[in-house]
Structure formats: structure tokens, C-alpha cells
């Protein structure tokens, strides 16, 4: 009896050890992160962050120039040739201003608010494919920080976190106008997230993949998704405007009714962060729209694979990145164009548009897309 028990326990023990070894072994396979990999990703992250910030910086300049053009005036033209150094002058001005933290505010959350707004604006860039692979010294580097198989859901996760930057900042200021503006902003973003999600579900039915890289590859092999999903794109575009708090949806900072909105108490670079996060958001949503509906880094009217064979893969990747940035540039211009053309909605109109027009439209779009996909897969049933 005792021997059998011992035998059993030793068997169990050996099984456990076996399991443990297997566990270690698997870990070694899956998490063999070498130094070169970490370095490669760090460099990529740094480059993408710097590019996003630069684009956002020059978007502020672009916005003022576009505004000048639309309103038939010159825009900034003093700092450097054609006012090209204006963003740096603005940045230095914001840094030099006195940094006021109101006495009655919650100090920690007051500082946390703009930090969250900025971080959440940058986070989405991790899953956007900025170009195909490049090869340096025999090492293939993908121009995408992380190709995760839940890419689009990740984008949604980050978008839904974006509310906190506004809410925390508005509440911590301890000012009723800030608080009201923050609550407005949060309810606006929540409302438009729904329609955005529904419009993307229709897109996912067509692509059958959540990975942004796969979606881009499908588009460069076939047609761009805008041809299959024009209504879905329109809904997504409107919701992107609302998520970025841009005119005509800039109610959280409606200066005529709420003074400055949620950042009324902010000054110096903390205010700069809030203003800057808006431009980073614009840049990232433009990149997302290009990726989902306009072929991403696909070069239009050219067969990318053939071009790659004639000029080499690295140059192809560079051209693809340029192509993506051209599309992004167009969308950035579109954001500004709308801002200086269309007046702001009233709050009840905004809610009516979101809940009574966009969500039903997105649902109809989803049902029709589902039906078409079903018929395409299984044939006409009657």
C-alpha cells in the first residue's frame, strides 16, 4: 500500500516536473526577445512619435495658413520665410508662460489630465502599418510597431480611453464651466463611438480580419474599401470629427457659451498639451481613415510588387510611406477645410444627429453589407 502510494506520488511529481519543463520550454520559444528586436522596436517607436509630433506641430501652422486662405488673408508670415518657424515661436511662447495651478484644484489630477490626453492620442499609432517591410543588413524590419490580430479593437480601446483626459482635467480644475464642458465632451464622445463601431463592423464583414496589416494587403491586391463601403466611410468620417472635438463638433470648448471649455483653468504647456493632443488625434485619425478605407500605404494606380522588383524593396517601402502620408495630408487639409467653413452645432442637434441619424444609418449599412456578404458566399437562396 505504502509503495503504491509512493509510486503514485512520485509519478505525480514527475508529471508535474514534466509539465513545468514544458512550461519553461514554451516560454523560451515564445518570449525569446533578443536585444536587437527591442532596439529595433524602440527606434521605430521613437521615429513614429517624432514624426507624429512634427506633423502635429506643422498642422497648427497649416491650420492658420488654411484659415488665412479661406478668409482671404495672409495667415502667419513673420517668423522665417512664409512664417515657417511660427510653430516653434508658439511652442516657446507656451513654455515661457507662467504655469498657474489653481489653489482650489486637485493638483495631482490637474497635472494628470493633459498627460493622459497626450498619451492616449499617441497610443493608436502602434498598430497602424506605416509601410511594408524594409531590409537593413539582412534583417527584415516591418514598418509597423505591433501587428496584433485584434488591431481594430485595440484602436477602439484607446479611443474609449480618450475621454478620461478631458473628464479628469475638467473635474480637477474645480470650475463649473470646465466640469460642464468635460461632461459634454464625454457624452459626445461616447455617443459617437457607437456609430463609429457599427460602421467598422460592416467593414470587418468584408475584410474578415481585424489586423490592419491584412486589411491594407487586401486593398493593395484588390480595390480600396471606400468602393465597397461609401456610407460606412461617411459615418466613420463624421464620427472621427466628433472624436477629435473638431468643428462642427467642438462643443467641449465652445468659447461663446462655456468660456474656454474644459481647459479654461489651464495655462502654459499644460494647455499646450491639450491643444496639441487635438492635432495628434487629427493626424492619427487621418492615418486610420487612409488605412481602413483608402488602401493605407498602397500606391494608387501602380502594382506595388512589380514596382518593388524594379527599384528594390527598401525604396518601395519609402514610396509607400510617402503615399500614406500624402493621403494623411489630404485628410488633415479636409479637417481644416471643414473647420473654417461650417459653423458649430447646437448641443441638442449634435445628440440628435448622433443617436437618431448616424446610428440607424450605420445599422442599415451593417445589415445590407451582411446580406450581400451572405449571398456572395452562399449564392442566391431562392
Amino acid at each position: 500500500m505504502e509503495t503504491t502510494l509512493q509510486g503514485l506520488s512520485s509519478r505525480v511529481k514527475s508529471k508535474k516536473e514534466n509539465n513545468f519543463q514544458k512550461f519553461e520550454y514554451i516560454n523560451m520559444i515564445y518570449l525569446a526577445i533578443d536585444l536587437a528586436f527591442i532596439l529595433e522596436k524602440l527606434v521605430l517607436i521613437a521615429v513614429i512619435i517624432v514624426i507624429s509630433l512634427l506633423v502635429a506641430l506643422y498642422s497648427t501652422y497649416g491650420e492658420r495658413k488654411v484659415a488665412g486662405y479661406i478668409q482671404d488673408r495672409l495667415g502667419p508670415n513673420r517668423a522665417g520665410p512664409g512664417g515657417i518657424f511660427q510653430p516653434f515661436a508658439d511652442g516657446i511662447k507656451l513654455f515661457m508662460k507662467e504655469d498657474v495651478i489653481p489653489n482650489s484644484s486637485n493638483k495631482f489630477l490637474f497635472i494628470l489630465g493633459p498627460a493622459i490626453a497626450m498619451t492616449m492620442a499617441m497610443l493608436t499609432s502602434a498598430v497602424i502599418p506605416w509601410g511594408n517591410e524594409i531590409t537593413i543588413g539582412g534583417r527584415t524590419i516591418s514598418l509597423q510597431i505591433a501587428d496584433i490580430n485584434i488591431g481594430i479593437l485595440y484602436v477602439f480601446g484607446v479611443v474609449s480611453m480618450g475621454v478620461y483626459g478631458i473628464m479628469i482635467g475638467g473635474w480637477a480644475s474645480n470650475n463649473k464651466f470646465s466640469l460642464l464642458a468635460a461632461l459634454r465632451g464625454a457624452s459626445q464622445m461616447i455617443s459617437y463611438e457607437l456609430a463609429m463601431g457599427l460602421s467598422i463592423i460592416a467593414l470587418l464583414m468584408i475584410t474578415g480580419s481585424l489586423s490592419l496589416k491584412t486589411i491594407v494587403e487586401q486593398q493593395s491586391a484588390g480595390w480600396w474599401n471606400i468602393l465597397y463601403q461609401p456610407l460606412g466611410f461617411l459615418i466613420f468620417l463624421i464620427c472621427a470629427f466628433a472624436e477629435c472635438n473638431r468643428t462642427p463638433f467642438d462643443l467641449p470648448e465652445a468659447e461663446s457659451e462655456l468660456n474656454q471649455g474644459y481647459h479654461q483653468e489651464y495655462s502654459s504647456m499644460k494647455l499646450g498639451f491639450y491643444l496639441f493632443a487635438e492635432y495628434v488625434n487629427m493626424f492619427i485619425s487621418s492615418a486610420l481613415m487612409s488605412t481602413l478605407y483608402f488602401g493605407g500605404y498602397d500606391i494608387p494606380f501602380v502594382n506595388d510588387a512589380n514596382l518593388g522588383q524594379s527599384i528594390g524593396h527598401n525604396w518601395l517601402a519609402v514610396l509607400q510611406a510617402v503615399s500614406l502620408f500624402a493621403k494623411v495630408g489630404f485628410f488633415l487639409f479636409f479637417f481644416m477645410w471643414v473647420r473654417w467653413t461650417i459653423p458649430r452645432f447646437r448641443y441638442d442637434q449634435l445628440m440628435k444627429l448622433g443617436w437618431k441619424s448616424l446610428i440607424p444609418l450605420a445599422l442599415i449599412n451593417m445589415v445590407i453589407t451582411g446580406l450581400i456578404v451572405l449571398i456572395k458566399e452562399n449564392g442566391w437562396p431562392f
Binding site: 508535474k16 509539465n19 513545468f20 514544458k22 512550461f23 514554451i26 516560454n27 523560451m28 515564445y30 518570449l31 526577445i33 486637485n106 489630477l109 496584433i148 490580430n149 485584434i150 479593437l153 485595440y154 477602439f156 480601446g157 474609449s160 480611453m161 475621454v163 478620461y164 473628464m167 479628469i168 473635474w171 466640469l179 468635460a182 461632461l183 464625454a186 457624452s187 461616447i190 481585424l210
Partner: protein, 166 residues
Amino acid sequence: MNITHILFWILTLMALGSALMVITSKNPVYSVLFLIATFFAISGHYILLNAQFLAIVNLIVYAGAIMVLFLFVIMLMNLNAETEPQKNKWLKFAGTIAGGCLLLIMVAAIKDADAKSTIVLMKQGETGLIHNLGNVLFKDYVVPFEISSVLFLSAMVGAVVLGKKE
């Protein structure tokens, strides 16, 4: 100590630490923010277990939607550390004992369970990946899935009806 262990301990410390802060902080807004941090840590654990879909849905639904509503209520009611009602000492004492009993029973139940001796195979199982999850949900468990969605729909209709009552 490989990288998985390090991540595991960091996430565990973060989850437990912020969960403790949820119940100990005086300011309700801090409690909500720490609860969000707890959800982030738990999502990290899901990712270590290769359940990416669960991880991201946890973030979207709990941290992104439900917690925003919590914050809404707390901010609009202007609950601060000063207005937070302080329960009397005996009530706190009773609460601690009741919570301790629950902890004791859970530890006792888990102590002899089979699950304890099963070693989690990290980064293995493919069930948590969205492709497999979709196949299982829409092929093997269609009927329960549809029934639960009807349940959700009725909850939504109920919320709208309650909200419309003036």
C-alpha cells in the same frame, strides 16, 4: 526569472495594489481611477494567457464605458472626500469580519480544488484568439449566444423605457 515572470509579478502587484487603493482612498474619484488601473492590470494578465480578445473587451467595456458612467455620476453629484459619509466604527468592524469570512471560505474551497495543481501554460492555448473564439461562439454555442443577446436587448429596451419616464 524570465520576462514572463517579471511581467506577471508587476501586473499582480499593480492589480492588488490598486484594488486595495480602491477601497482605502477617501476620495470617490480616486477610487474610480484606481479601479480603472485594476482593469488595466487584469487585462495584462489576460494577454499573458494569450486571451487577447478578452483583454481588449475588458478594457473597452469596463474601463472605457462603465467607468465613464461611474465618473459621470460621481462628478455630477460632486462627491468629495469631505462629503463622503463616514460609517461608524462598529459597522466597519462588522464589514471587515464579513469580508474576512468570504476570503476564508474562498481560500478553503480553492485549497483542495484540482485547478490548483494545473500549471497554466502561458502563451499557449489558442482559444483566446479572436478567430477560434468566433468559430466556437457561432458554431458550437449559437443558441446560448443568441439567447444572451436577446437578454441584452431586453435590458437595453428596459433602460430606455425607464429613462423616458418623466
